[in-house]
């Protein structure tokens, strides 16, 4: 144990928002420049999972928890093979990691993967700014020779916006692969990867499901080629309004009445497939403390969220859709945002949040059981 990582600690860095607000701090992780959509995450644990969640692709993540990196980086907790965030903003990075599973420091890992970050800024002021003004584009610039303010702002404003972005294909697997069932295999599920997190197929595998993870470009034929008992649509980055291809695949699945489960982006796709619209939230839900009510039981679960878009469906009535009656099954108690949909006449449901957790509480793990019982019901 040594007091290491003074590496980039004294190199200046600047964070510039597209509305011109600027924060000055010190470089963290890789030195250079990066752009993305500025979003804040309120989780106090789970930075490794957050960094490797493909849904954060093209986003610069601001951690509201001040101390980040305390438990270092291990080889078990990542949710995918790489870090996806385009930039990382923390207040007080750890100088030494402390955990029996830690392999290296977070600072090293960020540098190794070329992730540009900034530390030592007033992250709370930045969070409040985004809360009041909404998510927006941002740039982080670090190094000993920084461009002038005007140049930096212009560069931020040239970066692409999240609205209208079609990103699934950029993060999803290129080749199909199989996650075998743990123990006796009971079901086969085709999982369309729109940016899937590693924990999701794991949660299914734990329940005796063999998961065939398919690329985002998979067609209905590809899906049915694995002879699935159920079909799953994953989480992922980007604007659901652009996801025309997965929407059409989902419609095919719905018309065949195959048991269907969607998470996050998958929920928005179900919404669209049913004919609902989607919209961008002012600053999104990103954290692991969000109260969601299961409207069928009235129970409240504390859940992990990471979504900037939401489905626009009526909360107070059952809707008629091309696939029969549908209703909002889950709602966020903080702001009444739609957090889940279910069809009443056929086996399909989805949630906007993350029952697989990682990071986050396990309160909603029952949804995987619900998916299993839909498949059992179909078989019976």
């Amino acid at each position: 144990m040594t007091t290491s990582t003074k590496g980039t600690a004294k190199i200046p860095a600047v964070l510039v928002l597209e509305d011109g607000r600027t924060f000055r701090g010190r470089a963290y992780g890789a030195v250079g420049e990066t752009f993305g959509e500025a979003v804040f995450s309120t989780g106090m644990t789970g930075y490794q999972e957050t960094l490797t969640d493909p849904s954060y692709h093209r986003q610069v993540v601001i951690m509201t928890a001040p101390h980040v990196g305390n438990t270092g980086v291990n080889d078990e907790d990542p949710e995918s093979a790489r870090i996806w965030v385009s930039g990382y903003v923390v207040r007080d990075p750890a100088r030494v990691p402390s955990n029996w599973r830690s392999r290296r420091s977070l600072d090293e890992e960020l540098r190794r993967q070329g992730v540009v970050g900034i530390s030592g800024i007033d992250t709370r002021a930045l969070t409040r700014h985004l809360r009041e003004r909404g998510a927006m584009r941002v740039g982080i610039f670090s190094g000993n020779a920084l461009p002038d303010a005007g140049t930096m702002l212009a560069e931020v404003r040239q970066a692409p916006e999240m609205k209208g972005a079609n990103l699934s294909a950029e993060v999803a697997t290129k080749e199909p692969y199989v996650v075998p069932a743990i123990g006796a295999k009971k079901f086969t599920v085709a999982a369309v990867d729109l940016g899937i997190k590693g924990m999701t197929p794991h949660r299914m595998a734990e329940r005796g499901i063999e998961v065939h993870v398919l690329p985002a470009t998979a067609t209905a034929e590809d899906v049915y080629a694995v002879n699935p008992d159920g079909v799953f649509f994953s989480n992922g980055p980007g604007d659901p309004a652009t996801a025309d291809h997965p929407v059409s695949v989902m419609r095919e699945v719905l018309s065949r009445k195959t048991p269907l489960f969607g998470i996050c982006f998958g929920n928005q796709i179900l919404g669209r497939a049913l004919g609902f619209g989607t919209y961008k939230l002012k600053y999104g839900h990103r954290g692991i403390n969000q109260p969601v009510q299961d409207r069928t039981t009235g129970k409240v679960e504390v859940t992990a969220h990471n979504h900037g878009f939401a489905v626009d469906a009526p909360l107070d009535k059952v809707s008629d859709t091309p696939f029969g009656r549908a209703e909002v099954s889950h709602v966020c108690l903080n702001d009444d945002v739609v957090e889940g949909l279910q069809l009443l006449d056929q086996p399909a449901f989805s949630v906007q949040y993350h029952p697989e957790a990682a990071a986050g509480p396990h309160d909603a793990a029952y949804l995987f059981d619900r998916f299993v019982s839909l498949m059992e019901g179909q078989r019976a």
Binding site: M1, T2, T3, F23, F40, T42, G43, M44, T45, G46, Q48, E49, T64, A65, P66, H67, N70, T71, N74, E76, D77, R91, D92, A94, R95, V96, P97, S98, N99, W100, R101, I121, D122, T123, R124, A125, T127, R128, R131, G287, I288, N289, Q290, P291, Q293, G298, K299, V300, V302, L333, N334, D335, A357, A358, A359, G360, P361, H362
Partner: protein
């Protein structure tokens, strides 16, 4: 599902007197709960024997019983009030135990009272070690995580040696079965120790059985605070990580929120276990707290224990997160679910979520070992701290350093100058957890210790160790820079360095550093505790400082009054001062001011964000207060700062604040100084023609020697400028005087030592009064039961005085007025008098709220602290009389003849402390205050009120049985009548030979018992100490024999503490107790609420 409609009235049980382990946090919780229940339209009946609480203010509940919290008295209250339900989870262990007794005795069934917020089975499952072990096993079977510490039961040394292998080696804990108070248990680090401890244990155990348990010393320790509603919704309100690893009671540990060194995977495992435990135990609604130990080598989790109720930790968690656990627990108990309760802070979102923090909270304990020099000061699993300070910062170093300076104790802040000492010795010292170990670690780091060495010595997590290195590196940079520029100052401040620390490192004055810092524009901003890391807008101005960019203090228009609180609880400065601050806040808010509270004590009502318009959770140092005044001045007009209600802490800042241009309201700092400085105060007395005992002030032994000789021994010696009689002693001769000065060199380095004539056999009198510059309002006159020479905080007293006549009151009034006027008081003043023979001496005057203000206010039904706050801001006594805040006519000196008698009794922490040999510490009262809390007994006659005070403090006085009497020679005369009374009540008297002789000569039948020094008799006659230990004595009267003989009674008094037998150490207390026993044996002890007493008193006043 909204509130239950079948409950119309609820009985809430408080926690009684402040004791170590059960302190002001239960006033905070209980007050919140009572307010919530009342706002729900329920009739709230409250019982709490502690008058210094906000919860026992008459407006908090509908019927407030300041009565002993015993099953007998609570049953009387139930019979009278017939509540529908009993809420037992908010008054600590006291309330829980009382509720269980009432349940088991069938009282609750008899009166149809439903237990809400907890069921008996759940309480047993949570509290019984064996049942809880089963709970943990059941949880493990369900979710595959969590276990209890592994153990094996052994009946022979062979079993023991095999057991160690089964447990995986040394160290192991040895616990002999069925021994009293865990006698004979200990840690064995090797076979030799094991053979010794276990061998002894097998002998000690009546069943020749010892339990060997794996040692989890040095593991990481965590706590979770959970809440559950009747729909089985569960949330984790807060995670807490202990800086000190396993082995130190969590109340004595430095603790941090949120947990700092857990990955999400590990945290979620703790969360899953916590939720499974609360379900398995069956806490239907409300909060609970669960403690975990985590092995730093492999993450193995052991569930240590749970508290199925609101606790000290839940109060801390509430303050740390802004999530008011007690308030919500009360709502859940009457039928609401979490999602139906709004989050107070955001107002928009529900309480069914888990707070997330964008700051770090550090709590540090405050100890009082200096008051108990004989006690073993190492920290163990028995809690020994008397208070705590909490600080909030944007990172750990900032929060830690703020917390350490909040302790207001010399040496509590890290020091970076001077010789640190030898590395090896420091590291060795750091191995044993003690008060201030963290400072030892810092010195070890300065002395060159490596992080690994620090970890090896202390097992403090490497991340925390690195944070200490970070602090030290910043200190090095501060020392190394050419001059204090903005960068280094900002860096230092971001890591919590105070101006004073920076000044010390740079060899400058504190105010110079501050000037430089201000000139460079390095000032704090204030952030909000909002439960949600800024995800939603906060509506509650609950602030902490940080050296960040953006402040969240909103502008305001109303003039603000800033009230400085009293900081961490300590002996001599406790909850009573918080009480006065809270009252000031309420009164000034009603009078149209915006109230701003500053305090750093998480246990208190003052640091509830509901109490004042704005709350600054900040240290009470000059620097921190000046910055708050600055921030509030930027926000709007500031009418002034109130310093006279929070005890010595704010008082000590008064002059410096004024010198920095801060408006101080009420009594001026100069007047405060006048009363503190003996020379000036002496002139005030002389001018008013008032006698004071002969005294002098000395800076050296030579001066002291001369003065003492002039006054004549015995003399009372003490340092000036202290509270609670710190360092005060009665000195009988010159060598003792020399010894005293040597021992207290640290206390008298800046201020002189005061030497007073000691008034033997005088009656001590306390007066609380208000003065507005023209008129005096005598708040109350308290007559001490113990003689002068025992600290007023440790002495029982009665109000109205029981032996003083109208002429005495008149003299007291005149003297009080003369002093208040001479000093220049605007607000409260407390004066201690001593009546010796017929002369009324002035002992001392304190121009501030005293410890007795809450007691006086309750006994006379007049809110003195509120009135004082108003007077500070310019109101006159006649205006307050007209408003109705003070009675229209008369005052506390003119109480009607049939006014109730209130008795205050002090509660001592003896049972908490042991010396290094494991023996109890002596219980004799003296001029240095050592009580932690107090109770009040109120009734129409003195005897009953006194009996109630004893029941509330120590358990009921016996009405029959055996009384042991052993008194000093000077007390032998005054003992005869009360002793005769005891016999008349059917007591058998026991006495040692000397006392027995006197009693027998006076015709009082007495049995002679053997002294401890005489040992067991030839026919196995037990000594008195053995008799006490064997439970054969019901009442003990033992007055100490001056200096030389003091040790004789030591064994008797410590035995009485160990067995919980009432022990009277003054003959005056015996006389009072006899009156109490008389009242109790007549069996006419009733209960009456404060509201009824007040109605009675008001009616009598109007006549």
């Amino acid at each position: 599902m909204p509130k239950r409609t079948d409950i119309q009235s609820v009985l809430v049980i408080g926690s009684g007197p402040i004791v170590i382990g059960q302190a002001a946090e239960f006033d905070y919780s209980g007050t919140q709960a009572c307010r919530v229940l009342k706002s729900e339209g329920l009739r709230v009946v409250l019982v709490n024997s502690n008058p210094a609480t906000i919860m026992t203010d008459p407006e908090i509940a509908d019927a407030t019983y300041v009565e002993p919290i015993t099953p007998e008295f609570v049953e009387k209250i139930i019979a009278k009030e017939r509540p529908d339900a009993l809420l037992p989870t908010l008054g600590g262990q006291t309330a829980l135990n009382t509720a269980i007794s009432l349940h088991e005795a069938g009282t609750l069934d008899k009166y149809g009272v439903e237990l809400i917020g907890a069921n008996v089975e759940a309480i047993h499952k949570g509290e019984d070690r064996d049942l809880f072990k089963e709970v943990v096993e059941a949880v493990n079977a369900k979710i595959g995580h969590g276990e209890s510490a592994r153990s094996v039961i052994c009946h022979s040394m062979d079993d023991v040696l095999k057991g160690v292998d089964e447990l995986g080696g040394y160290p192991v804990v040895v616990r002999p079965s069925f021994t009293m108070g865990g006698a004979g248990s200990g840690f064995a680090h090797d076979e030799e120790e094991l053979r010794r401890i276990a061998g002894q244990g097998l002998t000690l155990s009546p069943t020749t059985e010892v339990l060997l348990e794996e040692s989890i010393l040095g593991w990481k320790e965590y706590e979770l605070e959970l809440m559950r509603d009747k729909h089985d919704n569960v949330v984790v309100v807060c995670s807490i990580e202990n800086f000190d690893p396993m082995g130190v009671h969590t109340g004595d540990s430095i603790t941090v929120a949120p947990a700092m060194t857990l990955t999400d995977r590990e945290y979620q495992i703790l969360r899953d276990i916590g939720i499974a435990v609360i379900r398995e135990v069956g806490v239907d609604t409300g909060g609970c707290n669960i403690q975990f130990a985590v092995n730093p080598e492999d993450g193995r989790v052991i569930v240590i224990e749970m508290n199925p109720r609101v606790s000290r930790s839940s109060a801390l968690a509430s303050k740390a997160t802004g999530f008011p656990i007690a308030k919500i627990a009360a709502r859940l108990a009457v039928g609401y679910t979490l999602d139906e309760i709004p989050n107070d802070i955001t107002e928009q979102t529900p309480a069914s979520f888990e707070p997330t923090l964008d700051y770090v909270v550090v709590k540090v304990p405050r100890f009082a070992f200096e008051k108990f020099p004989a006690a073993d000061a190492s920290l163990t699993t028995t809690m020994k701290s008397v208070g705590e300070a909490m600080a909030i910062g944007r990172n750990f170093t900032e929060a830690l350093q703020k917390a350490l300076r909040s302790l207001e104790k010399k040496g509590s802040q890290f020091a970076f100058t001077g010789e640190p000492g030898g590395k090896a010795e420091l590291l060795e010292l750091a191995q044993v957890p003690t008060d201030g170990r963290i400072n030892t670690v810092m010195q070890a780091i300065r002395a060159g210790a490596t992080p690994q060495e620090v970890f090896d010595a202390t097992k403090i997590d490497p991340w925390f160790v690195d944070q200490l290195f970070l602090v030290k590196e910043i200190a090095d940079e501060i020392a190394a820079v050419d001059k204090l520029g903005p960068d280094i100052l900002a860096d230092a401040k971001r890591h919590g360095f105070s101006d004073a620390q920076i000044a010390d490192i740079r060899g400058l004055r504190e105010d110079v550093v501050r000037e430089v810092r201000h000139a460079l524009g390095v000032r704090p901003v204030y952030k909000t505790v909002d439960t949600c890391a800024a995800e939603f807008a906060a509506r509650t101005p609950y602030f902490y400082s940080s050296y960040d960019e953006e402040t969240e203090v909103a502008p305001r228009e109303k003039p603000a009054v800033i009230i400085l609180g009293s900081g961490p609880n300590r002996i001599g400065q406790g909850i009573e001062f918080d009480y006065s601050c809270v009252h000031a806040s309420f009164a000034l808010s009603d009078a149209g001011y915006e109230t701003v509270m500053v305090n750093c004590n998480p246990e208190t009502v003052s640091t509830d964000y509901d109490t004042s318009d704005r709350l600054y959770f900040e240290p009470l140092t000059l620097e921190d207060v000046l910055e708050i005044v600055h921030a509030e001045t930027q926000a709007g007009p500031v009418a002034g700062v109130v310093v006279q209600l929070g005890g010595q802490t704010p008082l000590g800042l008064a002059q410096a604040l004024k010198d920095n241009g801060v408006p101080i309201v009420g009594t001026s700092p100069e007047a405060i100084d006048l009363a503190e400085e003996r020379g000036a105060f002496g002139r005030v007395l002389t001018e008013a023609g008032l006698p004071a005992p002969k005294y002098g002030t000395a800076f050296s032994f030579d001066e002291a020697k001369t003065i003492a000789a002039e006054i004549g021994y015995p003399v009372m010696v003490r340092p000036s400028y202290v509270l609670g009689g710190r360092g005060m002693e009665i000195v009988y001769d010159e060598p003792s005087l020399a010894g005293y000065l040597e021992r207290h060199a640290g206390l008298i380095d800046r201020h002189p030592v005061l030497i007073d004539r000691f008034l033997d056999d005088a009656i001590e009198i306390d007066v609380d009064a208000l003065y507005d510059g023209h008129e005096l309002y005598l708040g109350g006159v308290m007559e001490h039961i113990e003689e002068a020479g025992i600290h007023s905080g440790d002495s029982a007293c009665a109000l109205p005085p029981i032996t003083l006549g109208g002429f005495d009151i008149k003299r007291l009034r005149a003297s009080t007025e003369a002093i208040a006027k001479g000093v220049g008081v605007r607000g409260l003043i407390n004066i201690q008098f001593a009546m010796a023979g017929d002369i009324l001496y002035v002992l001392e005057a304190n121009p501030r709220a005293s410890r007795t203000v809450p007691f006086t206010s309750k006994a006379t039904a007049v809110p003195l602290a509120k009135a004082a706050a108003r007077i500070s801001l310019g109101a006159t006594i006649s205006e307050l009389r007209a408003e109705g805040m003070l009675p229209r006519t008369g005052d506390g000196g003119t109480l009607p003849l049939d006014a109730p008698i209130s008795v205050k009794e002090a509660v001592m922490p003896w049972s908490r402390f042991r010396d290094i040999h494991g023996r109890g510490v002596d219980t004799v009262l003296g001029p240095e205050m050592r009580s932690t809390g107090e109770v009040m007994g109120i009734d129409s006659v003195f005897g009953t009120a006194y009996a109630k005070s004893q029941s509330g403090a120590y358990g009921a006085l016996p009405t029959k049985g055996r009384a042991f009497v052993s008194v000093a020679n000077r007390d032998k005369r005054s003992m005869i009548f009360p002793a005769r009374e005891l016999v008349a009540h059917g007591f058998e008297l026991l006495a040692t030979s000397g006392t027995a002789e006197v009693l027998r000569r006076n015709g009082i039948k007495t049995t002679v018992v053997r002294k401890q020094s005489e040992g067991q008799g030839p026919n196995g006659e037990k000594t008195i100490v053995q008799l006490i230990h064997d439970g054969e004595v019901d009442l003990i009267v033992n007055t100490p024999y001056g200096t030389g003989g003091r040790l004789d009674g030591y064994d008797i008094r410590t035995a009485s503490v160990a067995r919980g037998i009432p022990c009277l150490t003054t003959v005056q207390a015996l006389a009072a107790a006899v009156q109490g026993i008389d009242a109790m044996s007549r069996g006419d002890v009733g209960v009456r609420s404060l509201q009824e007493h007040a109605r009675h008193l008001t009616a009598a006043r109007e006549e």
